[in-house]
C-alpha cells in the first residue's frame, strides 16, 4: 500500500487509517462530525496527496484537451481552472477532473486517485496530438485548506494576495518557504478556501506551517470521512458513486460543463448532443429525508405506489442539518424539486423529498 509524504503526521495525530485507492489514508482524527463542523465554521486541513496530477503541454495540448474533456478549454486563460469530465466513448464518464491552465501551452489535470491508472491509459490512447504528457502523481502532494478562515490562515504564509485569487483561479509562488506552490481557490467542501499543490519534498514543511499559522483559529486535520459528508451536503459528485462509466454527464447534471460549441469537438459530442435534444431518461437529484432514516448507496428509491423509480448513489447523516441526505438517480418525471419520494431502507419505505443543490443551504 502506498503512503503519502505526510503519513508520519497522521500517525502522530492518531488518525484512523484506512486503505483508499491503494493509499493508506486518514479516515478521521477527532471524529467525523467534529471535523465536518470545524470546516463549516472555522478551518480544516486535508491531506489529499493521493489525487492524481498529469501535466499536458506542447503545441497539441489545447486541441488534445478539447478532444478528451467536455468543458471548453479554449476559454481557459492562464491562471484559471475549470471543472470538467472525460466522456468514455460510450456515453459514460471516464473520470471527472479539474483542468488548470498553468502557463501558455501547459496544463495540469487533477484526477481521482482511484482512476489514475485508468485515466493515464485513456489519455495516452487518445493523444494523437503529440501533446507532451507526464504523470506526476507520485511526485506531487496536495493539501486542501478549507473553511471560512482558510484564506486568512494561508495568507500568513505567503506574500501572494489571496483575496485577489477568485474562485477557480490560482497563483504559483512561495508558501511557508516552499517554492512553486500552486495556490488554487478550489475545493470539495463548499466552505471556501484553497487547495495547495507542491512537490513532495515541500509537503511536510507546508503542512506543519499551516497548523502553526492556524493554531489561533482552532485549525484541525480533517479525514476522508468528513470530506465525503462535506461534498455530499453540497451535492458534488463522487466518481464511483454518483458518476461512472455508465452515467452520462447530462444525466448527472453536468450539462453546465458540457459545451457543444462549434469550434470544439470532443469524444461523445454527437451522442450527448442527441441526448440533450431528446432529454434524459433519468436525472441525478438531491435527496433530503422527511421521516427519520439515512439513505445509503444502492438503496432503492420508490414512488407512492412502491414502484422502484431509481437508486441512491450516495448518502449520509448530514452533520450540518442533522438529518439524512443523499443523491441518487430517479426517472426524469420524478426529478422536480419538491417531489415526494421514498427510500427503501431495510424493508420499509421512508419518506423523503427531491431537493435542489446544494442540499445544505448555508
Amino acid at each position: 500500500m502506498k503512503t503519502t509524504q505526510l503519513i508520519s503526521f497522521h500517525e502522530k495525530l492518531r488518525a484512523k487509517l484506512v486503505e483508499f485507492a491503494g493509499y493508506k489514508m486518514p479516515l478521521e482524527y477527532t471524529g467525523v462530525n467534529d471535523e465536518h463542523l470545524t470546516v463549516r465554521k472555522k478551518v480544516g486541513v486535508f491531506d489529499v496527496s493521493h489525487m492524481g496530477e498529469f501535466w499536458v503541454s506542447g503545441e497539441g495540448a489545447l486541441d488534445f484537451l478539447q478532444k478528451i474533456t467536455t468543458n471548453d478549454v479554449s476559454r481557459l486563460v492562464p491562471g484559471k481552472a475549470q471543472y470538467s469530465c472525460m466522456p468514455n466513448g460510450l456515453g459514460g464518464i471516464v473520470d471527472d477532473l479539474i483542468v488548470y491552465h498553468y502557463e501558455d501551452k501547459k496544463y495540469l489535470l487533477v484526477v481521482n486517485a482511484a482512476n489514475i491508472e485508468k485515466d493515464w491509459k485513456w489519455i495516452n490512447r487518445h493523444n494523437t496530438f503529440n501533446a507532451v504528457i507526464e504523470n506526476a502523481s507520485d511526485k506531487m502532494s496536495m493539501v486542501a485548506v478549507q473553511g471560512p478562515e482558510a484564506k486568512n490562515v494561508v495568507q500568513k504564509l505567503t506574500k501572494i494576495n489571496l483575496a485577489a485569487v477568485k474562485s477557480f483561479s490560482f497563483e504559483t509562488g512561495k508558501v511557508a518557504g516552499v517554492d512553486h506552490v500552486i495556490i488554487s481557490a478550489t475545493g470539495y467542501t463548499g466552505a471556501g478556501g484553497v487547495e495547495l499543490y507542491c512537490y513532495n519534498d515541500g509537503a511536510e514543511a507546508l503542512w506543519a506551517a499551516i497548523f502553526e499559522a492556524g493554531a489561533d483559529k482552532g485549525i484541525k486535520p480533517i479525514g476522508l470521512a468528513a470530506r465525503d459528508t462535506l461534498r455530499l451536503e453540497m451535492g458534488y459528485c463522487l466518481y464511483g458513486n454518483d458518476i461512472d462509466d455508465t452515467t452520462s454527464p447530462l444525466e448527472a447534471g453536468l450539462g453546465w460543463i458540457t459545451k457543444f460549441t462549434e469550434h470544439k469537438n470532443f469524444i461523445d459530442k454527437e451522442f450527448l448532443e442527441r441526448q440533450k435534444e431528446q432529454g434524459v431518461q433519468r436525472k441525478l437529484v438531491g435527496i433530503e429525508m422527511i421521516e427519520r432514516g439515512i439513505p445509503r448507496h444502492h438503496y432503492s428509491i420508490l414512488n407512492q405506489q412502491d414502484k422502484v423509480i431509481g437508486q441512491v448513489t450516495s448518502g449520509t447523516m448530514s452533520p450540518s442539518m442533522n438529518k439524512g441526505i443523499g443523491m441518487g438517480y430517479v426517472k426524469t418525471t420524478y426529478a422536480a424539486p419538491g417531489t415526494e419520494i421514498y427510500i427503501g431502507i431495510r424493508n420499509k419505505k421512508v419518506k423523503a423529498a427531491v431537493v435542489t443543490f446544494p442540499i445544505y443551504k448555508d
Partner: protein
C-alpha cells in the same frame, strides 16, 4: 480501552449486564470506536421475543450500518429512550448511558456461553 469486569461479552462486540431475570445490552467501547460517530439507532422490537443471535435493531455510523444481535434469547422490554435524540451517548458512555435495550432473560444457562472480560480482551488482542 475499557472492558468492565462485571459484564459478559459476545464476539460481535456486545455486552450484557445481568440483573436477576433482566439484563441490559449495549455495544462495547471497542465497537463504538471502530464505528466512529454514531448517528442513528433503529430498534423497533420492543415487546418481541427474540432468539439468541437474532437481529434486534441496527446502528448507523456516518459511513456504515451494522446489525445488533441478541446475546441470549429473551423478550425486549425497554429501549433506551434517550438514544433517539442523542445516539452519540453510545460513543460517549458505551457501558453506561449508551445502553441499547433491556430484556427479560429466558434461559440463564445461555449466559455461560458468553465471554468474560478476560476472554473478550484476548479476542481483541488476537
Amino acid at each position: 480501552m475499557k472492558i468492565p469486569a462485571n459484564l459478559k461479552y459476545t464476539k460481535d462486540h456486545e455486552w450484557i449486564r445481568v440483573d436477576g431475570e433482566e439484563a441490559l445490552i449495549g455495544i462495547t467501547d471497542y465497537a463504538q470506536g471502530e464505528l466512529g460517530d454514531i448517528v442513528f439507532i433503529e430498534i423497533e422490537t420492543e415487546g418481541e421475543d427474540l432468539e439468541k443471535g437474532e437481529v434486534f435493531g441496527t446502528i448507523e455510523a456516518v459511513k456504515t450500518v451494522s446489525d445488533l444481535f441478541m446475546p441470549v434469547t429473551g423478550k425486549v422490554i425497554e429501549i433506551n429512550p434517550e438514544l433517539e435524540d442523542a445516539p452519540d451517548l453510545v460513543n460517549k458512555d458505551p457501558f453506561g448511558k449508551g445502553w441499547l435495550i433491556k430484556i427479560n432473560i429466558v434461559d440463564a444457562g445461555e449466559l455461560d456461553d458468553l465471554l468474560d472480560a478476560d476472554s473478550y480482551n484476548k479476542l481483541l488482542e488476537s
